[in-house]
Symmetry: C2
């Protein structure tokens, strides 16, 4: 299934900047970055649980926000892109729209 | 239906900063800001078309990126939130999770 991960990390402190880097580093292991704070991850339920657990360990729940959108397996018809950067195909191929 | 709008606007120039403000201003009319560059919009197909048309007029398609995720009507079970800021209920009520 495709899970969209979006995050806001409070970066006014050095620790916040470190958290932001950590969050991105974790997400890179699970999916494709499609925007600055938006990743599309093709995961199974076990991987999704793992991803969430790893992110929760890194963020400051008082300051940072994580959102997950479960787009299912028929995600292709749910995504539209306009503008810069190609749309990524999380299944592997880069789609230049 | 719930449409998630995510955007990256290139803000290294004054014009970019203006575009960013414009994009946010348009999105505010259609939904709730849930993160810095993420809006959840409860729209019908006509409103969705309108929203896209307005955004396309503002962005620089060479530099900025817009993504739309169609979460349908059963969106509630597709959204998970962790951390700061309450989850918004686009139907009106604020949900403090």
């Amino acid at each position: 299934m495709l899970v969209l991960v979006t995050y806001d990390v409070e970066t006014s402190t050095t620790d916040g900047k470190r958290r932001l880097r950590e969050v991105a580093k974790i997400c890179v292991n699970y999916g494709q970055r499609v925007q600055n704070s938006v990743f599309e991850c093709l995961v199974d339920p076990v991987q999704f649980k793992q991803l969430k657990a790893r992110l929760v360990k890194v963020i400051d729940e008082e300051r940072d926000s994580l959102r997950f959108y479960l787009l299912g397996s028929k995600w292709k018809r749910r995504v539209e892109h306009i503008g810069a950067k190609p749309g990524y195909d999380p299944e592997g191929l880069l789609l230049f729209e």
